[in-house]
């Protein structure tokens, strides 16, 4: 008797998840599916895991408000494992198998490039939340991070005008974002009258950890009597040893400031910040900016992640903005149909966490304020400079010979790479 009971309960227990699974899939028809395509393992997990949590937080919040169009949102999380072909495979899986209505994802340029053909082929919708090198505008992608003119150029302007920098080191990790950014900056600096001998460009590999010679080179370059600054597009992991070496070789921010485009609050949280105080970062968001919206967002994040010490950073704000814009677009269009949502998005606005509004432009980029911050000893930034108003994102840089004639406009021209001189729309995949 006892034994039979045991078996019965065991069967029920075993069947419960099955039934649950069934009920879930039955329910699935009534939900709006949101794909989350961020690496949770591999080298990029350091940065991307946080963005996955941010999307989950936004979904959670939206569901508490009753979802969208009367339907609940359902996250579909996959792990592309920092493996670029796997990004494409997972994007295809999300779109073709899970039929998600929107994807929030990618961090590195190469992952975006890998996903791009898939999203265009299957007419998906991707929100890309990270600052990048520009030179792209896809019908199916919305870029809520900064283009080079929303980060790099204002930062250099600040250094030139307010700090009086005359000599420049452009130090970057050898991949497409630093390469492009430095190309743009080099052209920009030369246009401003900086001599070629006052610019040093240098690249190191991913995850580079032995900075002794490089830093020593910077030190020598910077001791030529002119005010020198380093514009760093060093990626992720290589930053910690870089700053440690700067500190140990006694290069202080007063002598040779380093302005970084990839070092934010989260990166600093993994660093001993003492030697970094005074170095600069250029972003479109800082956690330390004191606005009610920002405070509320940070409080919400701490509550969601159940940890008061977690930081909030620029790509997270870009994710939040992208999510809010998508919700607005779906509500306005009255449907999650990708084509309609894509057509609705340009022109929509949502407030930034730090003030001002993010407006979707016809080139699928958004307007963003630009801030320069100095690192404080607590790992946060003091804003020392900001742009007067939001800067519209420029998909195609005006400072590169190849792209200055190209324009992206999905509202009137219906084209991402329209050549203004030849009047031709090139390279579209549909």
């Amino acid at each position: 008797m006892e034994r039979r009971n045991f078996i019965r309960s065991a069967i029920t227990m075993a069947a419960a998840p099955l039934l649950l699974g069934l009920s879930l899939s039955a329910q699935a028809a009534d939900t709006i599916k949101v794909g989350v395509l961020h690496s949770l393992s591999g080298t990029m997990a350091i940065s991307e895991t946080t963005l996955k949590d941010t999307v989950l937080m936004m979904i959670d919040e939206q569901n508490k408000k009753g979802g969208i169009l009367g339907k609940k949102l359902e996250p579909v999380v996959v792990d592309p494992a920092s493996n670029w072909p796997l990004f494409a495979e997972k994007a295809r899986e999300l779109l073709a198998k899970d039929h998600v209505d929107v994807i929030f994802g990618c961090w590195t340029s190469v992952s975006r490039k890998s996903v791009l053909p898939v999203v265009e082929e299957l007419n998906g919708l991707l929100f890309y939340p990270v600052q990048y090198e520009g030179e792209e505008s896809s019908r199916n992608v919305f870029y809520t991070g900064a283009a080079p003119n929303q980060q790099a150029i204002p930062a250099v302007d600040y250094l030139m005008k307010d700090v009086g920098v005359k000599r420049w080191v452009l130090e970057g990790t050898d991949y497409v974002y630093p390469r492009t950014t430095n190309k743009i900056l080099e052209a920009y600096l030369k246009a401003k009258g900086v001599a070629a001998s006052d610019i040093m460009i240098n690249y190191t590999p991913f995850g580079f950890s032995d900075w002794q010679s490089e830093v020593s080179k910077i030190k020598t370059f910077g001791s030529a009597g002119k005010k020198t600054a380093v514009v760093s597009t060093i990626n992720g992991d290589a930053n910690v040893p870089f700053y440690k070496e700067l500190g140990n070789q006694k290069i202080s921010a007063e002598d040779i400031p380093v302005v970084a485009f990839s070092v934010g609050e989260e990166e600093l949280a993994g660093l001993d910040t003492k030697p970094l105080v005074g170095h600069l970062a250029a972003w479109n968001y800082f956690e330390s900016i004191d606005t009610p919206a920002n405070k509320a967002a940070i409080a919400q994040w701490h509550k969601f992640i159940k940890n008061d010490k977690r930081t909030f950073n620029d790509p997270m704000e870009a994710t939040v903005i992208g999510f809010k814009l998508w919700v607005k677009a779906v509500e306005k269009a009255g449907t999650t149909d990708t084509t309609k949502v894509i057509d609705t998005l340009p022109g929509l606005e949502t407030p930034n966490l730090t003030g001002g509004v993010a407006k979707v432009l016809p080139n699928h980029h958004i307007t963003k304020p630009v801030y320069i911050g100095e690192v404080r000893d607590d790992g946060q930034f003091d804003v020392v400079w900001k742009t007067k108003s939001e800067v519209p994102g420029d998909a195609w840089s005006d400072f590169l010979p190849g792209s200055k004639d190209i324009e992206a406009d999905w509202v009137t021209l219906k084209c991402g790479n329209y050549n203004k001189t030849t009047k031709k729309c090139s390279g579209q995949n549909f």
């Binding site: 072909p85 495979e89 899986e93 490039k113 050898d174 792209s403 190209i406 390279g427």
Partner: protein, 375 residues
């Protein structure tokens, strides 16, 4: 002769199963994809076709590694080098096919060269717009590299772990080299945004099916070729080299030539796998060279069953399916599952899954014979 060759290919039970499964897949997957309406339970979505095509490329790669490791005793931790080089050759051809349809509309230069201000096409990109030439290069470059590397290494009698580590150094050096943007292979972003192959649109499901079939055929032919090699007299020498290299040398075999031959052949198979892989995943970038990937290939072979070609193919299929499944089903903890699988297989299944199946079979036959005996 013909007859005996056929018998030789057909000899093993595992091989027969392999041919049958491959044939069934090659026939039914396209049928169920194109012939059965979307929404039907029998429909195979294009997504699955692309995935299976990818797995077949991996299986081909696994067979290549198994040939050198399982039969000749050379543990290569650098086969990704040949795989990726083959992939790059195909990628270069596909890049040139884009022509003036790139975002900058430059008829000659690929996009990444335009925006890094390259003025002219590097010499090694010339001719890659011709399919036959690109395919020749796809075989020639990895083949030459394998030949040069093997010629030095085997003549110098570099063996065992030393050989494994320098193959790793080889692919690592190539990884670093291809990351450099100055190399002219697109740096970290690699080659992507392909449009068409031989004039056919890469995104059409017809081309996908064709690529799937091409992968299946390549896999089948490679399998048959490897079987033929192994079952031939050469194959016996190869195994002799694996089991007792010095003895084989003393008997009078030119061990280094045998090894070199197998090595280059295996590299060519890997290159073909790479070339088929690229149009199906739509991107080739330096991370394909990563030494970690090379170790993973070895793990596929070990999981399936080293020293049996069908085992290698089965391992590639299973591990990659597990990866696809776990990354979606258990995104947070899938590495535990995968890592645990590797540890478990090495500890408990020294001959891989194939070995397990064989064990079951012997047990069944034993049980049957016992029953007969007792009856």
């Amino acid at each position: 002769m013909n007859h005996s060759l056929l018998r030789l290919l057909w000899a093993e039970r595992g091989s027969r199963a392999f041919y049958i499964v491959l044939l069934l897949a090659a026939v039914f997957v396209p049928l169920l994809n194109l012939g059965v309406a979307d929404g039907s339970a029998l429909h195979v979505p294009t997504y699955t076709v692309a995935l299976l095509g990818k797995y077949m490329c991996y299986a081909l790669l696994a067979i290549a590694v198994d040939l050198v490791w399982g039969y000749c005793g050379i543990l290569s931790l650098g086969h990704t080098a040949f795989f990726a080089l083959g992939g790059y050759a195909m990628g270069m051809y596909l890049m040139r096919q884009i022509g003036a349809r790139g975002v900058y509309g430059d008829a000659l230069l690929p996009d990444f060269m335009v925006f890094l201000n390259w003025k002219e096409l590097p010499w090694f990109w010339h001719g890659m717009d011709m399919f036959w030439f690109a395919m020749l290069m796809m075989l020639f470059v990895p083949g030459l590299l394998a030949y040069a590397f093997g010629w030095f290494a085997f003549r110098s009698r570099v063996t065992g772990v030393y050989l494994s580590i320098i193959t790793q150094a080889l692919t690592y050096a190539l990884l670093l080299a291809f990351f450099r943007n100055e190399m002219g292979f697109g740096g970290n972003n690699g080659l992507t945004d392909f449009k068409d192959l031989l004039g056919f649109d890469l995104q059409s499901s017809g081309v996908r099916i064709a690529l799937f079939l091409a992968s299946a055929i390549a896999l089948g032919l490679a399998y048959a070729a490897c079987r033929a090699v192994i079952a031939s007299r050469l194959g016996r020498v190869i195994e002799a080299v694996r089991d007792a290299e010095s003895r084989a040398r003393f008997i009078g075999y030119r061990v280094e030539n045998v090894k070199l031959w197998v090595w280059v052949f295996s590299a060519l198979l890997a290159a073909v796998a790479g070339a088929l892989y690229v149009p199906q995943v739509g991107i080739i970038n330096p991370s394909e060279f990563a030494p970690i990937n090379a170790i993973e290939i070895v793990v596929w072979v070990a999981v399936g069953g080293r020293g049996t070609l069908y085992g290698a193919a089965l391992g590639a299929l299973l591990v990659n399916y597990a990866k696809t499944y776990f990354t979606a089903a258990l995104p947070e903890v899938w590495l535990f599952a995968l890592g645990g699988l590797f540890v478990g297989v090495t500890l408990f299944l020294p001959k891989g899954i194939v070995g397990l199946i064989a064990q079951w079979q012997t047990r069944l036959t034993k049980a049957a014979s016992l029953k007969e005996a007792s009856a």
